[in-house]
């Protein structure tokens, strides 16, 4: 339990709820109710039923043979890319939409970077017949066009965020402003383990299904639920937290979180938060973020819209600071190369986000027989344009 949230909403030095008073009633309502609602047997039943019949869980744990040969270890892929809507994001939106209904909310808002969370939110809103507004940075609207079209077809209103770097951070700002201006009846489905307490804990709980299943599948396939390594990419950190969750207290399992180095950590175009960041407050929680000496948030860069964020969730900051997790980074080019490699070795086109985690395998050294789980957080359909341009296909 030492890596989980305490009763004050903190993970060590990180977390809390740094929000203006306008957001307090909604966040407090959530804080008081989220565990009660989630722990309720009926809620659990409906949540798991939907994950099974609608999302298609459990997602397979696939032993990637050719990848394993290449790296000299057993490389397992946790196939979140096979979920309905194509990424891990739907685990969280299913949970939150059920919770929003229990709280009597009528309108849903969300931010999105890659558009996967936006699509997952628009999807559950269609499913449950709730109004849906998605904020998305102008830059991301351009580079993730297929997802914008999907959200529109699903009936969501997509509002461009045109401030700052016009990416995920700015979309999050706009969503928070929307919530301030709509204090009654609206629920904000945050898409990662960021935001004020209880969001990081709530999203982690919904995503923890990833490691819950992985453990069972590992026992079936290897006889042990203790792999040597677990890897995942980190934007805000929700797929990584879901992947780490049930391994956190197994101290012999090494947790590796892969951030986006962009054009290189020292290039000025990077999103490698733990490398470049300092402690501070962003989007309602105390964590680690990229900022100037004056405390102004630095605009990040990554080829991957889902990792193009200047912070990480507070629980990640805690894993980083305590040394429980190893935080590393991968450049734009390395990730794209890893994406093509997986496609050609295993016939799986990964999201560029997930390709960051895969790329780190190139930098690791394994002993024969070691078991390695990589969270394949999403599929690459949305990224075809970027891949095709980069490889001149």
């Amino acid at each position: 339990m030492k890596y989980k949230v305490n009763e004050k909403g903190y993970y060590g030095d990180f977390g809390g709820a740094y929000i203006p008073e306008m957001l307090y009633p909604n966040v407090e309502e959530l804080r008081q109710n989220y565990l009660k609602i989630i722990d309720d047997a009926d809620f659990q039943k409906e949540f798991h039923q939907l994950l099974k019949d609608y999302v298609g869980r459990p997602s397979p744990l696939y032993l990637a043979k050719r990848l394993s040969e290449r790296y000299g270890a057993n490389i397992f892929l946790k196939r979140e890319d096979l979920n309905h809507t194509g990424a891990h994001k739907i685990n969280n939106t299913i949970g939150q939409i059920l919770l929003a209904e229990k709280l009597g909310k009528k309108r849903i808002i969300a931010e999105t970077g890659a558009g996967q969370h936006g699509v997952a939110t628009a999807t559950v809103c269609a499913l449950r017949n709730l109004e849906c507004v998605i904020y998305m940075g102008e830059v991301d609207i351009e580079r993730q066009a297929p997802n914008v079209a999907r959200m529109k077809m699903l009936g969501a209103k997509v509002v461009p965020a045109s401030s700052g770097s016009k990416t995920l951070k700015d979309a999050t700002n706009e969503a928070m402003r929307d919530w301030i201006n709509n204090p009654v009846d609206t629920h904000y489905i945050i898409g990662s383990v960021v935001g004020p307490h209880p969001y990081p804990d709530m999203v982690a709980l919904f995503q923890s299904i990833i490691s819950e299943e992985t453990k069972k599948q590992l026992i079936e396939q290897t006889g042990s639920d203790q792999p040597d390594y677990v890897l995942a990419c980190v934007g805000g950190g929700s797929n990584a937290m879901g992947m780490f969750y049930h391994f956190m207290d197994d101290e012999n399992v090494k947790l590796i979180a892969v951030e986006a180095a962009g054009k290189g950590v020292s290039s000025g175009f990077s999103a490698a938060t733990t490398y470049l960041g300092k402690e501070g407050v962003l989007h309602g929680s105390r964590s680690i973020l990229m900022q100037t000496e004056d405390g102004q948030v630095v605009e990040p860069h990554s080829v991957s819209a889902g990792l193009d964020y200047p912070g990480i969730g507070p629980q990640h900051a805690h894993l980083f600071k305590t040394g429980r997790g190893q935080y590393v980074s991968i450049t734009d080019e390395e990730s794209l190369d890893a994406g093509l490699l997986l496609t050609q070795l295993e016939g799986i086109i990964p999201a560029i986000e997930s390709a960051h985690a895969l790329a780190y395998l190139e930098k690791m050294e394994f002993k024969q027989g070691e078991n390695v789980v990589v969270c394949l957080s999403g599929r690459g359909d949305k990224d075809l344009d970027t891949y095709i341009k980069y490889f001149n296909l």
Binding site: Y18, L282, E293
Partner: protein, 255 residues
């Protein structure tokens, strides 16, 4: 005595003006303050800009961005404010988000405020529990008031708690909104204002967000000790001669 307390003892219908430091030009901070005092403002809130102002609407977002682009930092602001008390006698508060304060260091921040003659602060995203635990001692040591916001959705119990924790005034948001929304005093707003008025709080109250002209100002004053104008003022000084623009704007509230 703290200038804020004194003001509320001596005056009613207090007009407080918010503006962004380093706007429209980086060197304008003091000039705007002096012009405002000269044309009759009772209190000032000087905004120190932040890159991600989630509680602000487009106008203050834009002024903050311009100020930052022109090089504003907290360090520079405190340098500019060294001359604040040469000609400005009315109470002055600094308003901004918590991260720049954290990076500056809470202790250093309070000390710097006291040195230049700042009387209080408004930091909307600094939670009450954090303030109580980590900031209050330092604020009080430097005789700084910390002002909290309340909205129509804030529960009575919490308002009483805020009232116990603060010693300047309470900032009453006319509605839960980002800055710059227009005040529409409908039945529910009146009920809310009256509810607060009847709570007999120990602190005075100021109504803010969406006050833009004499009519909305007078209306606000009938429920509180005064009102705060931000967006409308920031918009008014965007172009042209500062002294002229300020006095033109302030004249609208005379009489």
């Amino acid at each position: 005595m703290n200038r804020i307390k004194q003001l509320f003892q001596e005056k009613i219908n207090i007009l407080s003006i918010y503006y962004t430091a380093g706007y429209p030009n980086i060197g304008d901070t003091i000039q705007v303050a002096e012009a405002l005092e000269k044309s009759g403002a009772d209190m000032l809130e000087i905004g120190f800009p932040y890159s991600d102002p989630v509680a602000d609407g487009p106008v203050i977002q834009a002024s903050s961005k311009k100020s930052l682009d022109q090089g504003m930092t907290l360090k520079l602001l405190f340098e500019q404010l060294k001359d604040l008390r040469k000609n400005v006698t009315i109470p002055v508060l600094l308003m901004g988000y918590v991260n720049p304060v954290l990076q500056f260091g809470v202790e250093n921040f309070c000390k710097a405020c006291a040195e230049v003659g700042v009387d209080g602060c408004i930091v909307p995203d600094l939670p009450m529990v954090e303030y109580e635990e980590f900031y209050k001692g330092c604020f009080e040591e430097h005789n700084l008031s910390n002002v909290f916001l309340i909205t129509p959705q804030t529960a009575d119990e919490r308002i009483h708690k805020i009232d116990g924790l603060t010693n300047g005034f309470i900032y009453l948001l006319s509605s839960s909104a980002t800055t710059g929304k227009n005040l529409e005093v409908g039945d529910t707003t009146e009920t809310y204002f009256s509810r607060i008025k009847n709570m007999n709080l120990k602190n005075p109250t100021m109504i803010g967000f969406g006050i833009s002209d004499k009519q909305t100002f007078d209306k606000a004053c009938s429920y509180a000790n005064g009102a705060i104008i931000g967006t409308a003022f920031v918009r008014a000084i965007e172009n042209g001669n500062i002294e002229e623009r300020v006095s033109e704007f302030m004249n609208k509230f005379k009489g």
